[in-house]
Symmetry: C2
Subunit: 406 residues, 2 copies
């Protein structure tokens, strides 16, 4: 199940200087694509954001320490096993994978970044991964995006990608990216996995800043089930192979590029929500005119996580009292009930402390019957607006997570 038409682009524009190779290592399901190797050209810059879960997985720890030492050249991703909650042994297993990639490709092992996603707490089948590495290397190609988009999936039902090009003074800059994620989605730094590459030349510090800022209005604003994964990682690579340099000195190009990157990141993040476990609705929740970002986000996420709101969304039931109850418990200090409004789409449902005088059940029902729904809370307290995206809570969510060990 997934919401709306598939959004994977017909054409994933290759990014000069960035190659992807995908193969099957048989980690969980024989024959399934589950191992992706990515090669970054010499001279590229790489930025990353990682989960803030304290129990971050061994590969996440290694990514952070390797990136602090040298510039990354290889990224190796396995699905079917998260290598999280695996203690010392998990750390050694991930390091061994890095060493094998380095030997195979003639690189420094610190220039290899490992990523894992799948079940938590089981030993990484490192021998299977090592055996399949040559085949992944063999497949390395700038055309490898489609296969890689498939190779990083777990419970996802759809591949997720976005690709766009911007023109600047006769030059073309390409941005292409893939992501995965469907359950345990409430990213806090990044989504389960995201890989975005551009051929622009961007200095490392600026690249990291761009990634952090665009993550904060994309992956860090989505939630399926409030559970932050141990393995969230999102990487942004700038190969510099186009002749265009993005820097803050060129304000016009910088703004153009940042907007394009934000657009691409939001496409990838929304694709995860649309493919959220059991999702039948794509729900946008906006909190307007809040006093602080914290207040706006807390209110929006509290609505997004409420099982009662989510089951009403699943039932297409305009049960607006449940939304009102969440706003009331969101801990907003000195909330003036008479001065806030709640909207379902364009329909005002709550004003002056109760049901809006003009509200009709038919109008509410018409919004709820749609597959894409906007819930908007106007607090009339300040200048801050925040938006998050989420799903409903369906029988399929329970089935997927009760029947499958993810």
């Amino acid at each position: 199940m997934a919401v709306g038409p598939a959004t994977f682009p017909e054409k994933m524009h290759p990014v000069s200087g960035f190659k992807l190779g995908t193969t099957s290592a048989g980690i969980k399901t024989p024959g399934r694509k589950d191992l992706v190797l990515m090669e970054v050209c010499d001279g590229a810059t790489v930025a990353g954001v990682f989960t803030k879960n304290a129990f971050c997985a061994a590969p996440v720890q290694i990514c952070k320490s390797h990136m602090a030492e040298v510039s990354p050249r290889y990224l190796v991703v396995n699905t079917g096993n998260a290598n999280a909650g695996t203690g010392e042994e998990g750390f050694s297993d991930a390091m061994l994978t890095c060493k094998e990639v380095a030997d195979l490709c003639g690189s420094d092992e610190r220039a290899v970044l490992p990523f894992s996603t799948g079940v938590i707490g089981e030993k990484l089948p490192v021998e299977k991964i090592i055996s399949a590495l040559p085949s992944a290397k063999e497949a390395l190609s700038e055309q490898g995006w489609d296969a890689a988009a498939e190779g990083i999936l777990t419970t996802d039902t759809r591949v997720k990608g976005a690709s766009l090009q911007i023109e600047y003074q006769g030059q073309t800059i390409t941005l292409t990216g893939i992501s995965k994620g469907s359950g345990m989605i409430k990213p806090n730094m990044a989504t389960m996995l995201g890989y975005v590459a551009t051929d622009a030349k961007i200095e490392k510090g600026l690249l990291q800043k761009l990634l952090t800022e665009t993550t904060n209005c994309s992956f860090n604003r989505i939630t399926v089930d409030s559970d932050t994964s141990t393995n969230d990682s999102c990487m942004l690579v700038a190969t510099g192979q186009s002749s265009v340099e993005v820097s803050e000195q060129n304000a016009e190009l910088f703004a153009l590029f940042k907007e394009a990157l934000k657009d691409l990141m939001q496409q990838l993040a929304h694709a995860i929500v649309r493919d959220g476990e059991g999702a039948t609705k794509f729900v946008t929740i906006t909190v307007d005119s809040a006093e602080t970002e914290e207040e706006a986000l807390r209110t929006a996420f509290d609505i997004a996580h409420s099982p009662l709101v989510k089951t009403a969304l699943f039932a297409s039931d305009p049960n607006w009292g449940r939304i009102l109850a969440v706003v009331g418990r969101a801990g907003i200090e000195n909330l003036d009930l008479d001065n806030l409004q709640i909207y379902l789409g364009d329909v005002c449902i709550v004003s002056q402390g109760g049901r809006d005088a003009a509200y009709t059940e038919e109008a509410g029902q018409a919004v709820m019957d749609q597959e894409e729904i906007l819930i908007r809370v106007v607090l009339n307290r300040g200048e801050v607006s925040e938006t998050v995206w989420t799903t409903d809570l369906s029988h399929d969510y329970v089935s997927i997570n009760a029947d499958y060990r993810s």
Copy 2:
């Protein structure tokens, strides 16, 4: 569906000076008991705790203002309609109910406290309630607990009550109470509705303190679905009709009484969890040796609210990685992963940053197969321990809340 054997006592001891009368007003379902009147004798003391939801219902607002003015003599409870999110009209409707009770019983209208529970946002059918009041008055009796326990239910599948007696120096003190609640359960001051009476004599300030303290280790420690209701209220009445006075001066009796009250309140709170919407498991979550109460409670409630943990509980799947992931995202600063343990029942599942060396899937499965499950997190950071109680997340929870407008 409900967890474990029914816990309603065979005998609900009457409390001298406290009468209950139950009838059917036909508010939602014709013939269903849905209106309860309670009469408190002259000279009794009454304490109450109420929801902290900012959108608190009209009856909650009136309870608070009436209690500030005079000592309550009558409590009137309707189910089937919460009279919340109903603005000015809801306030007038609740006030009219108070006035009618006062006229009927020869009392001051400020001595009447109104309570409502049911669907949010629909107009209170106040005429139906007024018409049924004489029949409720007619039924007033100290033996009326059983019928009242039934009369306050909504989506509950079981009546909830507790009753006990303590002996002190040849005297008997009785404590009897009822509660209701099944969904929208994450009380923040009290549960949906709870009414407890004792025949001890207790000064009003002390009674309020006792109620607040015992609520904080009973109703304020349970959650079904993280949603705090707009109508939560819990009342404690001390009729003073026994010859025993409970005061802090008599430390021995005070401790005895407080322990009994805590026991009774926990029985009523647990009965709500056992009857949680769609519940198939009764889950106790204890966080030991935390640095602060806030840290212990946040961790415990984060586990209790995680849809992934709750669906694993429903599936009886010892998927301990999901518990580990929640502890990791609970926002505990400088958490030392190597120095914490997580237990399922008596089985250690996590130690030294990963799966405990002695853990076996069989041992975990044996705990998960039980209907009552203990999850215990030992942080080894400080002296604070907190316990909360919750349910699993089942298909029936989704059905109940997607199919029924509650």
